[in-house]
């Protein structure tokens, strides 16, 4: 790996630290009765309201349609995601330290897979909440489900739901993009011109070897 690639990988890994301090995703809900809006922030380890009592209010409203209450303590992902993130950061730093391409590719691939799995998991939770409704709910609309969008907007009865990455999510996306760009550049550098790759890569790797 080139020196600049290793720095870029290290920066990408360090960037992920911010995810501990910034929410990944936000869901905003606007209804005629809630012109000021309600909303949720999804963090790596918790779910909070956009305003202090929003989670409580959303759970209160959701009971009418029989949605299960969102109880952050009961979501196992919120327990292990911080650990997974730590592993990802550690692995990234290790990749930068080793400075070899194969660990880079492995890390980039698993990072991508993790992000996709995370989004998939988010979708799954949304699906579960939106579809597994209490059959004794006060409001039952035939054929209606209440799955919030992963990205974008959707009308759910009187609520207009909008879902977007929040600061932490954008940082994670930036970090992932950075890693992927580095991986692609490294791949192209080696496969397009192997000789030049050795010549340029050699001296950088040597002091650490």
């Amino acid at each position: 790996m080139r020196h600049s690639s290793r720095i870029a990988v290290a920066v990408a890994a360090f960037l992920l630290l911010a995810v501990y301090f910034a929410p990944l995703w936000r869901i905003e809900l606007i209804a005629p009765q809630y012109p000021e809006g309600l909303g949720l922030r999804i963090w790596v380890n918790q779910i909070t309201g956009l305003k202090p009592n929003d989670l409580n209010s959303i759970n209160g409203l959701n009971h009418y349609i029989g949605m299960h209450a969102i109880e952050p303590d009961e979501i196992p992902e919120l327990q292990f995601m911080p650990k997974l993130l730590a592993v990802a950061i550690g692995a990234g730093l290790l990749v930068a330290l080793i400075g070899r391409r194969v660990p880079l590719y492995l890390w980039a691939a698993s990072f991508t897979a993790g992000a996709v799995a995370g989004l998939g998991d988010f979708w799954k939770w949304g699906y579960e909440y939106g579809h597994h409704l209490d059959p004794r709910a006060a409001i039952r609309v035939p054929g209606m489900s209440y799955q919030p969008p992963v990205i974008g907007t959707k009308q759910l009865l009187n609520f207009h739901a909008t879902s977007w990455p929040d600061i932490g999510g954008w940082i994670l996306i930036a970090s992932l993009a950075c890693v992927l760009v580095v991986a692609v550049l490294e791949w192209r550098r080696v496969h397009a011109s192997p000789a030049r790759g050795i010549a340029v890569g050699g001296p950088v790797a040597q002091p650490l070897a």
Partner: protein, 676 residues
């Protein structure tokens, strides 16, 4: 229309004035006919588009309604009716266990009063939007409202007083609120002949401190004055800070047929009180501590009002404190006393006078220094009228009552008999403009108009007579307020709007001072009510002899418990209802069939308690009265009442009760999801 209005009209002297007033008013009507064209843009000026906010909050005394009305200006829209001295069945104020103590007085539970003069707290002579004070006239009291909650937090009874009218009129840093009696009484009260009025009666002027951090009031001292009628007051400001001015009538000291007997003298007095001097004398021990019993009702941090009992006051006699009081002769049975923004001019509304006298504070100080005394009355120096007067407004109209200021060098005086607002200049005391009011204006109000920095854009007329201004509603009519644009040279009538209770004084300030400081809910986690159930699992029904405490929760859209059995006829059932919501504008109500008091309105996070004493066996419904949600109608429950001594055990449904399998499975299935 108040009874006193009727008396004034029946007064022979006033009748003559009234007739001449009618001529003057007719003249005014003619001169103002042409200005109808000027109000062509009035609709635009008072129109506040849907969803937009008014520029000012206006606080209007509820008069004999005993409350405070909060209106938006310029639209005149009613924003809130804040219960103060009178019980309010609408939300349980004065009925609920937590608020009952606010009505306590040394005369027992007094659930009504006559509220006259709101006063916004001030810092450096400018309304700061922290608190609103208002007097109770009948059973003398002063209340304090918190303006982040728009709720009454404190009521202080004033002992040794009758007709607490010249009150609360606070000083420019809210150091003191004052309470002067319009009806002198034997102080302390005792059994004497009314004929012994001059010897046995006193006019008591009370100064109560306001804690600058908490707003809590405490009686500092009382001044024992001659048995005149102390009608209105205003504190000095700027250079005159340290003084308070009280008008008096009945310096004749009549005790019957006052409309004649109190109208004999050509001049009565403004009593100028040097309260800084009073502080010195009190500190020097010159006040006598006299026994007095009075209630001090304070809303606790836990949302529960409690009464502390005062046992004595410090009473200061002017004879023991030279320099404390001077009388400024003022024609004629003066009503309002108003101090201009500079603090120099003291304007009196001599309600039967043909002029508006304007005293000068600096001349007053000089007259005191020069001993320019015309004599003494009850041992109190009377200053020479010529020595204190700065000028007289000539031909202002008839029946001047109150004056407000625009901060641009102009004064506006309400004219009861000629039914108009008269604008005049503080420079030369010349009348500049006049605008008719409909009808018989009492107080008038300019936002900040009695402060050092008025927001001189609007004037509000608070009229005593309504007559034909609105669609008629039988013999009893709403009260008539009128909004005038005073931003130009000429006043323009913009808007009529009805108000509740006889309007006395009002106060207003820019909405921006208060708007963003409003509390939206009470944090449930900080609810310290001892009977609060802060979640459904801790709901309970406890019997202690014939007293049953129901700690109940309400959340959209159910009560917990909503099935209660084991109550007996004659029990005192305390429904302690906690609103679990933590969402803005989601109050829940509570009402139970046959309650002999009121309903409850419980704000989010709050606990309120209603006592219910069932008088017969049966099963009685209770329900939420505030349309809270789509399933509000379903927010109901039953309480079973058995005969006294019945073997029916106390039981109720609760989450734990359900878990024990004693409850129809799934009855609250839908509810469980939202509240677990």
């Amino acid at each position: 229309m108040s009874p006193t209005t009727v008396f004034r009209f029946r007064r022979p002297a006033a009748l003559a004035l009234l007739m001449s007033g009618a001529v003057a008013a007719a003249g005014c009507a003619r001169s103002n006919a042409s200005r109808l064209g000027e109000t062509g843009d009035a609709a635009e000026r008072v129109y506040v588009a849907p969803g937009k906010y008014d520029e000012f909050y206006a606080f209007m005394s509820g008069g004999f309604d005993g409350q405070v009305g909060v209106y938006g200006l310029p639209s005149g829209r009613l924003l809130k009716h804040v219960p103060v001295f009178s019980q309010s069945a609408e939300n349980g104020w004065g009925y609920s266990e937590q608020t009952k103590a606010m009505m306590n007085t040394s005369y027992g539970f007094v659930p009504w009063d006559d509220a006259h003069h709101p006063q916004l707290s001030q810092t450096a002579g400018v309304p700061d939007g922290r608190w609103l004070f208002i007097n109770g006239n009948n059973t003398p009291r002063i209340a304090r409202l918190d303006l982040t909650l728009f709720e009454t937090e404190e009521i202080l009874e004033i002992p040794n007083s009758g007709g607490n009218h010249s009150s609360p009129f606070l000083t420019e840093n809210s150091e003191y609120v004052v309470a002067g009696g319009r009806f002198s009484v034997p102080a302390p009260q005792r059994d004497v002949s009314i004929d012994d009025y001059k010897e046995a009666f006193s006019g008591i002027l009370t100064f109560a401190t306001v804690d600058s951090a908490t707003g809590h009031m405490a009686i500092a001292f009382q001044i024992r004055m001659p048995a005149f009628d102390y009608d209105l007051s205003h504190a000095g400001k700027g250079p005159s800070h340290g003084w308070s001015f009280f008008t008096s009538y009945n310096s004749e000291e009549g005790n019957t047929k006052l409309e004649v007997n109190a109208s004999q003298k050509d001049k009565d007095y403004i009593a100028a009180i040097n309260w800084k001097r009073a502080e010195q004398c009190v500190a020097q021990g010159k006040a006598k501590t006299e026994p007095a019993r009075y209630a001090h009702n304070l809303m606790g941090e836990d949302g529960i009002a409690r009464t502390e009992w005062g046992t004595s006051t410090k009473v200061l006699a002017p004879a023991d404190c030279p320099g404390l009081v001077y009388f400024l002769p003022t024609p004629k049975s003066p009503h309002g006393v108003d101090v201009d923004p500079s603090g120099e001019f003291i304007v009196a509304g001599g309600k039967l006078a043909a002029i508006i006298p304007v005293h000068s504070f600096s001349k007053m100080l000089k007259a005191i220094a020069d001993k320019a005394f015309a004599g003494e009355d009850h041992g109190i120096p009377v200053l020479k009228y010529e020595a204190t007067i700065a000028g007289e407004v000539q031909n202002p109209g008839l029946g001047p009552l109150h004056t407000e200021f625009d901060g641009k060098g102009n004064a506006y005086t309400s004219m009861f008999l000629s039914s108009e607002i008269v604008k005049w200049s503080l420079k030369d005391f010349k009348v500049l403009d006049r605008a008719p009011t409909y009808y018989s204006i009492g107080h008038l109000m300019i936002p900040g108009g009695d402060s050092r920095k008025p927001w001189g854009k609007y004037a509000l007329a608070l009229n005593k007579i309504t007559k034909d201004r609105y669609l008629p509603t039988g013999p009893e009519l709403a009260q008539s307020a009128q909004l005038y644009d005073i931003s130009g040279d000429r006043m323009k009538l913009l808007l009529d709007f009805p108000t509740i209770g006889e309007p006395h004084y009002a106060q207003a300030l820019p909405a921006s001072i208060l708007k963003d400081r409003q509390v939206k809910m009470y944090p449930l986690a900080k609810n310290a009510d001892p009977y609060a159930a802060k979640n459904e699992k801790s709901t309970r029904v406890d019997r202690k002899g014939a007293v049953v405490h129901v700690s109940m929760t309400s959340v959209r859209s159910h009560f917990m418990p909503d099935k209660i059995e084991g109550i007996q006829v004659g029990d005192s059932v305390f429904f302690h209802v906690t609103n679990l919501e933590q969402d803005w504008d989601v109050p829940h109500g509570f009402a139970v069939l046959g309650a002999n008091n009121s309903e409850l309105l419980i704000m989010p996070g709050q606990t309120r308690t209603l006592v219910w004493v069932p008088s017969r066996v049966g099963v009685f419904p209770f329900y939420c009265t505030d349309f809270c949600s789509a399933l509000h109608q379903e927010m109901q429950g039953y309480i079973r009442v058995s005969a006294k001594g019945s073997a029916v055990a106390v039981k109720w449904n609760s989450p734990s009760y359900r878990e024990a399998g004693e409850h129809e499975a799934g009855e609250h299935g839908a509810a469980e999801h939202g509240t677990k």
